[in-house]
Symmetry: C2
Subunit: 199 residues, 2 copies
């Protein structure tokens, strides 16, 4: 029986829904935004700021970003804010893993907990067309076209992951199972993962 499940997902693939259902079925704690709040509490930073910087590399917007998460600050002992947040987030995830059984969404938890034999690592993805449809249905229209939003999120997430883990985001070998949700119902995905958890 696996005690910890990390769920990494492409934006719009339904990965979060799968993670939530899995936690409900297993009676495990569920950490997604809850994790951000914990990091906010421990770092003193604002939750919205953390949500933006705890999984994504900064947008490339000229000199602006030199003065935000990438620059050192007296608050963080000269460390860049992004590096400081990484350290706090890593500590929070390691601590959570020591506690009750849980499902953790994103935030490089697959890497941070890679050496725990009681952890199962899941990757959820889907083709772009499916994800565009999913985003429009669940999050509605925005000023930015969905394919642009998806591409931007994906690239920044990969960049963040590479920077802090040295690995390539989405490589099969980093997960025990990777599933394309466009071919199966969400519930069947949950079934399959649940079975692996219980092995």
């Amino acid at each position: 029986m696996k005690k910890i499940i990390t769920v990494s997902r492409e934006f719009g693939s339904g990965g979060r829904t799968i993670a939530k259902k899995l936690a409900e079925r297993l009676g495990y704690k569920y950490y997604d935004k809850e994790l951000v709040e914990q990091v906010a509490l421990e770092s003193g930073f604002d939750a919205a700021f953390i949500a933006e910087h705890s999984e994504f590399a900064p947008k490339k917007s000229g000199l602006g970003f030199l003065f935000t998460a990438e620059s050192g600050s007296p608050l963080t002992g000269g460390m860049s804010t992004a590096d400081f947040l990484w350290c706090v987030q890593r500590e929070v995830i390691l601590k959570l893993a020591e506690g009750e059984p849980c499902v953790i969404v994103g935030r490089c938890a697959d890497y941070i907990l890679k050496d725990r034999p009681d952890a199962l690592h899941v990757f959820i993805h889907a083709p772009l067309a499916y994800r565009i449809d999913h985003v429009l249905t669940h999050y509605g229209q925005s000023d930015v076209a969905p394919e642009v939003r998806l591409e931007d999120k994906g690239k920044r997430r990969s960049r963040y992951y590479r920077r802090y883990t040295g690995r390539e985001w989405g490589m099969s070998e980093n997960y025990n199972i990777s599933l394309d949700t466009s071919l199966m119902s969400i519930d069947r995905c949950v079934d399959i993962i649940e079975e692996m958890v219980k092995q």
Copy 2:
């Protein structure tokens, strides 16, 4: 119902066994070494030579390889032998996909058939320790330590794949499902894939 299944696998992960069982259960044709024979027939090259060069980049062994698969030849119209074999193999795979339902192991078939909506793409992997054990059990000892053999095969396969597809070998998004065989029995892996085929 998917008509074609491509199975890509890490050496020693049990992927070939899964592919074979899947073909038996579904009553599909099975192409692995059979594919090499077909390429041999169509290219005029020796099957052993093809097996060595149809999935792996050449060993880096000094100037030697300049005069083997990487060099142009009058037999292949000046094209390098490796490129020529790629072209023949690609044609063979495209032709097989037009025929009876089948399971194809390796050989970049996931890439070659990526645009067919009737194809399901599977990636089978396992942690190194598991694969070492599998290799020793199924293939026995050899002069080269199993971890060296596995690493060499993996690197050459990735290099070959990158060269001819422009993609990274083993990225989850290139497959509909990726499974770590160390956590489940071979038969359960086959069950899960079979269910996806029948969706």
